[in-house]
């Protein structure tokens, strides 16, 4: 039986760390949807281990089992064996790409490796989307893209992006994010303003590129490696790399450890240390939605809450143990049905709670929530809410 063929394959140590206890089953969204071991973390690890032990190969079934995984990593924090599931998954996907190179996968590699990281191309795409949005023609977009795109914020005619600078980089280096900088420029702007207010030196290195998270999750390890190296050079002079997208920051933290952070961690630290103020309570309620890449991948729950409290808001918890909203990077496009079901469930729980203000620290989640919550909800990044409150109080 054909085993692994790349150097990226899941490690033996990672696989044997799993004692098959099953404690990860109930937190896994795909297990919850199906009740099946073939859609559970334990089952997926066992599938990988079967290949590792020569009892199975990277065949169509293996691909199906691994493709259905969201990569939400909810299985990690509950795992007493500390199984590094995220890296096992990336390794398995890299093997699938290498051993089962379909045209669709190759197309995705090209898009994630060449198109998404090229700002000029993304700008053209954004202009097209803006025109569709204005003319209410998003409904003409092919099915699986339509729903996600219907969750976009209104795209600005002349977006005030934070510009990548050519000056000497240093201090905190802001990773602008390929999609974030085009579709959610307000978040990066808020980040820069707050970081500077908090006394940080901020630079936005001109030669930066995509962090490679989407490519890594989709099994294009070489592409992710290439992008990662380019950023290593671009951010070499910076103390810390900070991203405003949870998916990007999780990937950077895996790569750089303490040398990288999510914006929420940095802003929360500034509030903790008194470099940014706690603002008076407004009595307004906000539902906190935890992006998986903060809550599970970075085990970060407190910072986003502290920021919202500092903004004077009253927190309303979703109390669903951080169940994924179904956005999960490319998942909306690759597994539209499961993604939609999770989106509906999440929206259902939010609408039961009442408040129409929802905080989410990840653009993918924001789009998914807007697509399923529909009209009447305001969904923003916590730092945007904080900045708004800060301005209100002068």
């Amino acid at each position: 039986m054909q085993g692994w063929v790349t150097e990226h394959h899941p490690t033996r140590d990672g696989l044997t760390a799993c004692v098959q206890c099953g404690l990860c089953l109930p937190v896994c969204p795909t297990f919850r949807l199906t009740g099946r071991e073939t859609a559970s973390p334990r089952g997926r690890i066992q599938a990988m281990r079967s290949v590792d032990e020569g009892q199975a190969s990277v065949d169509a079934k293996f691909e199906e089992i691994l493709d259905f995984c969201l990569g939400c990593r909810a299985c990690e924090p509950v795992c007493p064996g500390m199984v590094p599931y995220g890296s096992l998954l990336e390794g398995s996907r890299a093997e699938i790409s290498a051993q089962r190179p379909t045209a669709y996968r190759r197309l995705r590699r090209w898009v994630l490796g060449r198109v998404v990281p090229t700002p000029a191309l993304m700008r053209i795409l954004t202009v097209v989307l803006r025109i569709l949005q204005r003319l209410h023609l998003i409904r003409l977009v092919p099915g699986r893209f339509r729903r996600s795109l219907s969750g976009l914020r209104p795209l600005d005619h002349a977006p005030n992006r934070v510009d990548r600078e050519s000056d000497e980089p240093g201090g905190i280096g802001l990773l602008t994010g390929c999609i974030q900088e085009q579709w959610f420029p307000e978040v990066n702007r808020a980040a820069v303003e707050l970081l500077r207010n908090a006394g940080h030196e901020v630079s936005i290195p001109a030669t930066q590129t995509c962090c490679g998270a989407l490519a890594a999750h989709d099994g294009h390890a070489e592409v992710a490696g290439r992008l990662g190296e380019a950023n290593d050079r671009a951010f070499a002079a910076c103390g810390t790399i900070v991203a405003t997208v949870a998916g990007c920051s999780a990937h950077l933290v895996d790569r750089h450890g303490d040398g990288a952070a999510d914006i929420t961690a940095v802003i929360a630290a500034a509030i903790d240390e008194g470099r940014l103020p706690m603002l008076p309570r407004s009595g307004q309620k906000v539902v906190v939605q935890d992006p998986c890449h903060l809550r599970h991948a970075q085990k970060s729950i407190r910072p986003q809450r502290l920021i919202l409290e500092a903004a004077g808001l009253d927190l309303v918890e979703l109390d669903d143990a951080g169940m994924c909203c179904g956005a999960a990077g490319l998942y909306t496009i690759l597994q539209p049905e499961a993604s939609a079901e999770l989106g509906r469930q999440k929206a259902g729980r939010i609408s039961e709670l009442g408040p129409e203000l929802v905080a989410s620290a990840n653009p993918g989640c924001e789009m998914q929530l807007r697509a399923f919550l529909g009209e009447g909800y305001e969904i923003r990044h916590p730092i945007e809410m904080y900045l708004q409150a800060l301005r209100r109080h002068g």
């Binding site: 098959q20 099953g22 071991e37 007493p80």
Partner: protein, 474 residues
Amino acid sequence: MAAIAELRDLLGSDRVLDDPLERRLYSKDASLMRGDPVCVVFPGDAEQVSAIVRIAARHGLPVIPRGAGTGLTAGASPMTGGIVMSMTGMNTIEIDPDNQAAWVGPGVINLDLSKQARPYGLHFAPDPSSQSACTIGGNLANNSGGPHCLAEGSTTSHVLGLEFVTADGQIHEVGGLAPDQPGLDLRALLVGSEGTLGIATRILVRLLPIADDVRTLLLDFPSVEDAARTVSDVIAAGMVPAALEMMDQRMVMAVENWLGAGLPTDAAAVLLAEVVGSTATVESEASIIAEIGRSNHARNVVIAVESEDRELLWKGRKSAFGAIAQLAPDYYLHDTVVPRTRLVETMAGVYEIADRHDLTMLNVFHAGDGNLHPLIAFDSSDEDVARRVKLAGEEIVDLCLSVGGALSGEHGVGVEKRDLMPSSFSALDLDAQARIKDVFDPDHLLNPAKVLPQGSRCFDFGGVRREVPEGAWV
């Protein structure tokens, strides 16, 4: 295969899995033993369960019910091949707050039931450490217990009735809300039968009111004996705390490494105790337990009041088994019960056995009812180690039986301890049990070759192997 085609016709092809990789993911539970099923099926109701059993019977295929597969004795491992029947799809919950009861599907997850019951001020008392994952069907089949069963009793005290399917495909209902059911109490027979007598398709459970107030205590001791003596003294003082749990030093270190809950890693043993009731009761009981602990040389006593702090203490205890994964690739766990009065000497004996075989032994257990879980962490790829683990395991069981203990506290017998049954039951006892099996399931279709060793019927009683089956270490 003809049986698979019939099953597909019945359930739809989406609910019958037979790809080799899919079958492999259902080849074992959380134990070390693996079988190879013909296929996996997902019934949606009792009628489908019945129809599946009839198809299986026609083709002579065994049926192995499976809940969440957290069992530790290969109860849900298809050791004889056959059809694995996953109950996860049968997971409805109907709460009857007036009668403090609920009808639930067997696939309902234990903790989900308590969460759903919380708005009514109720909860399901049995709380195995695996409660976030394991199913009520699995709890019923293994008569599972948990830290809080010390005061409330194990699953059997909380199952009022059930609907089940027998090997001939008939659907029966036993028990009910009325406290004293007429006729034989078949309910009690089904609970703990590990899927060998019938397949539970609906379960009527008792729900208990959530306690007004709770205190969780953490006591740490300079020696295991001091901790064990504290347990005996607490019970002797006439108290039945809601829970009384012990972890030894190695176990605390493994858990702490994962959790960072601030557990004392330099203590030889820690006790976790919980008292529930009115605020006045819990305060006085907590202080009595603290006092008893101190008189037995407890170095430190922490009393957690806030639910967050209490949950953190419990999280450590409940993750103990998994935390072993950091020490070695495999673990072998025993589940025996000894009289509480013999706890101290048994513990000493268990450590002595591990030392003699040069094995890493950790202990975590329900001290209050003398339910030991000595756990050996090892690497099964080393054959010599695997051999010593097996020897030590047998010696531990013998030791526990020799002080008047029992074979299985709560995890069931399954395959793991099946061939040790003759050391705790007489030939006559085993014969009686085998006859019951024959009445319910004459052709041995339901979870066959579990619980009762080959040759339990008196006339063929004889060469009973005392061996953990081949493949126990993979």
